[in-house]
Amino acid sequence: MNPHQTRDKRTKGILWFGIGLLFLCMVVSLSFGRYPISIKDIIGYFLSFQMDIEPFWDAQTENILLQVRLPRILTSVLVGSALAASGASYQCIFRNPMASPDILGATAGASFGAALAILCNQGLYIITLWAFIGSLASVALIYLTGYKYGKGELTILILAGIMIKSLFSSGTAFLKIMADPTDQLPSITYWMMGSFSGISFAELLPVFVPMVIGLVILLALRWKMNLLTLDEAEAASMGVNVKQIRMLVIFAATLLTASAVSISGVIDWVGLVIPHIVRRTIGNDYKNLLPFSLVFGGLYMLLVDNIARNLMATEIPIGILTSVVGAPFFIWLLLGREGN
């Protein structure tokens, strides 16, 4: 057997293990909370969709499961997957392992767009649209400054990211001054901190569709993304339409970032940390990197959200928790690079 085949088999095995683990954690997470629900009730309730089972659980359990916990858990998994996948994709576009939606300022751009839409009293669909426009603008700016003129150098990329971030956050700060302090301001502020609390299926729906579109595009292009990380002439000589595929990847990744930001606010670091852990353990081949980032991004966000809603009596905004984990990790990464 060729040596790469054993490696491929092992990789596939780990992926299925990860998917299994994700589902298990989702079911277990349903039971956690202020109002504990037993696993038996959860399984019984879901089986009753398919089978004839006499309910041995009460109506309140049913209500909490369907209206509160299930949408929240689905959202946290989707957002984690979306951010990790878009981080991995930006890394390919910028040919740089340090790129991610937050470092590039894409989340800051999305926040600005979304805050603008909230200020104009728009619904979630319009908020998502404006978040998309905002993050697309920031990625375009980064691409021009950091990549076209800075030749993709890490320092220039990070500096350009800082610049764009501060540009958009001062824009957002200005919007906050303009906002109605009784109604709009708290909603912008709380939303900026990032949270999954109180999410219903009605709120999930407007971002679900763009997320699925973004994920499908990226998954379909995942192997081709390897070629985008090579030299441009080299990739073209192998028959890749570099411009076209790059545009598609930017579109999809930005759609994912914007959707994630519009439903859950700013959640930093996931887009950097998760793809990195996958790169270190599974390898850089996007054929594996992307699915693994999806699964483990979702799993990570689910775990962090469980901590956010169960650790203390009051809920901790999840953005705070991910930064506590992510910022030290980033420093560790930078130090590791120096060491090489």
Binding site: N2, W223, A236, M238, G239, D285
Partner: protein
Amino acid sequence: MLEIKNLTFGYDGNVVLDEISYTANKGDFVSVLGLNGAGKSTLLKCILGCNQKYTGQILIDGRDIRGLSCEKMAEYIAYIPQNHVPSFSYTVFEMVLMGTNRMVAKFASPTKKQYQIAEKALETIGITHLSNRDYQKLSGGERQLCLLARAIAQQSPILLLDEPCTGLDFGNQMKVLEKLKELAEMGLIVMQTTHNPEHSYLFSNKIIAISKGKPLFVGSPKEIITTEHMKRLYGIPLRVYSLEEDRFRTCVPEENRMLVSV
């Protein structure tokens, strides 16, 4: 068959390539010689389709390749750029598999068939044992062999290489050139740019020497690698010596102090 007819290319008013005409046939191993900046790499880029604004024609099997999509071009030409390291580290197998890209639909990943092509390419070059090794951590010679395997996996009839021996030790230079010669004997058209006339004499069967964008001499190694021609090409006093019943020819500068003054 690769035909270049009256190829002229320039930018910002500078003529880089001036009226180059050349024909290479199946099985040819062509070496392009020339000074730095003579237009060797530009010639490769024109054939590759990266430089589209040339006048004249480039034909492959009688078909004008101007304006062809890169997907289509990849069917005709594989290219190995000058030694460089990609930003992400892939395994050798992953690198070679990328060569099959032209057989993979736009929104798809390689299937069993492409995996077999990549495995076969590794075998042809004799580096199956490197499959799981990290490309970034390979030696220069192993990297070049890996890129060669990738070009084979592309299964295109023409192979262009930009100074494939730069930065390699002597042994690896011979290994890479030996492989290139084998590939030409298998029926490919192989075209490399090189700064080493001795290599071109030993391995290739055709030589173009370019000077200031113009073809200075065109012919077989025996015709081109001579004292007279090399002197004119490189502009220093030198002598070409024949060794081992003319199996090998070597360029030796005539007076050492001339090297300093040039």
